[in-house]
Symmetry: C2
DNA sequence: CAGTATCCGATGCGATACTG
DNA sequence: CAGTATCGCATCGGATACTG
């Protein structure tokens, strides 16, 4: 832990807790609903276990996180305290600010399909699925071999992500560069626009294509406000 | 600069810019209106010049800050770009969150009168002054000798801060522990309550005492919203 | 699986000294 | 005054190995 700033200013005190490397991203994962160590780690794959462990302890000490031993099996459940949950709007605001003002391109390195798919899976609106299961195949031509193909098997009861063909008939098929998909995901590129520009290709029965925006979620930062969210969806569905 | 997180998530990209040690506090100073190097540094006195210089360059590179050489004399003027200014509500929200949820006590170390007075001077509402000049003497009994006594000479045209008696007749006199004063400043302790509890003492003509809350500002985090602000003022004036 | 302990190298930061 | 250059130590964090 860094030395204290030695200031009474609340911003300084907040910074002492949140500015440590990775900490904010761990909070983000918890806000997104991850509760288990490995689940959290899938959201921050470049972070070592030991550091994640340390950060979780620090967050617990700062009273932003509580843990409870699992009733069955080993391990704990990590959850945000009210103080931690109160950071939700702040993290969203930060993400939105970042999307709007930091014009950095997404690099090839960053557009990790594993992370993207993991995020995407978590944000599905399973209740809106047009079929049960709905199976979507994703192809990222530019990704490293092991991360090129993904099967998403979405059921109302939950969704699974596979690296190899699970054998279900495929309903929809995406084909895109990981970067383009990531831009759509974070709301910098609208799906309709991406499709028109052929940066993202989507194949399947017309009605399934049309209904997709209803149940595939986007990043929390993709929607500045609910109205814009709805407008964006209409636009996509119409395209 | 730390290594990149390697994530496309906007939060990660924002963190890369803002999470460096001291950076957020430098942004805070710029948001508060400081534009000159030394002015900024007075708000972060424990930060070395070299590091402040480096951080300012980084912020400039991230397009949050612009500089302009001074027409006369040496040095530059530092200013936030629109992107930087857009962080304003975020910093305030962070400070408010911190005040509300991080219940850390202000330590004696942190309650630096120099910082407190510097903040206070900057937040005066000079147009609301009852007299011109209005001279306030502050005594912090618990502070180190050199920081025990302060004279604030506030004029509509600007305010000065002195460590030694400037010779003006004193209108109001504060006497408090620096910690108590800091708690009032950040809005964790209401001035009226502090006065009643004798943690802060204020002496002077009745009408000047009463008018003080009108022109002495509090930290940006002391007011969750304008309504609360007005209510707080009324409460103080009545007490 | 769900973490923890240890080690070691990189680097971030603070101190000091210096310049126009 | 308004910064910049340099240096050396501390510490942070990543890799690896380990445990119940």
């Amino acid at each position: 832990m860094q030395e204290s700033y030695g200031q009474f200013c609340p911003v300084a005190q907040a910074a002492e807790v949140l500015n440590e490397r990775w900490t904010l991203l761990v909070v983000r994962e918890l806000l997104m609903g991850s509760t288990r160590f490995n689940e959290i780690q899938r959201g921050v794959p470049r972070m070592s276990s030991s550091l994640l462990s340390k950060r979780l302890r620090e967050l617990e000490q700062a009273a932003l996180v509580t843990t409870e031993p699992l009733a069955v099996g080993r391990g704990k459940v990590y959850e945000l305290t009210p103080a931690g949950r109160a950071l939700g709007p702040l993290v969203v605001a930060l993400g939105t600010w970042s999307r709007d003002w930091l014009s950095r391109e997404i690099s090839a390195e960053e557009a990790d399909p594993a992370l993207l798919m993991w995020d995407l899976r978590r944000s599905l609106r399973l209740q809106q699925l047009p079929k049960d299961p709905t199976v979507v195949f994703f192809r990222f031509r530019d990704a490293e071999p092991k991360k090129r193909a993904w099967w998403l098997v979405a059921r109302r009861s939950g969704a699974e992500l596979c690296f190899s063909d699970p054998g279900f008939p495929i309903d929809l098929e995406f084909d895109a560069e990981a970067r383009a998909m990531a831009e759509v995901w974070i709301g910098r590129l609208e799906l309709g626009a991406a499709l028109r520009a052929r940066r993202v290709k989507l194949a399947g029965p017309d009605e399934l294509v049309r209904s997709l925006p209803k149940w595939i979620g986007l990043s929390a930062f993709a929607y500045p406000d609910p109205a814009a969210e709805m407008a964006a969806r209409e636009g996509v569905a119409g395209g």
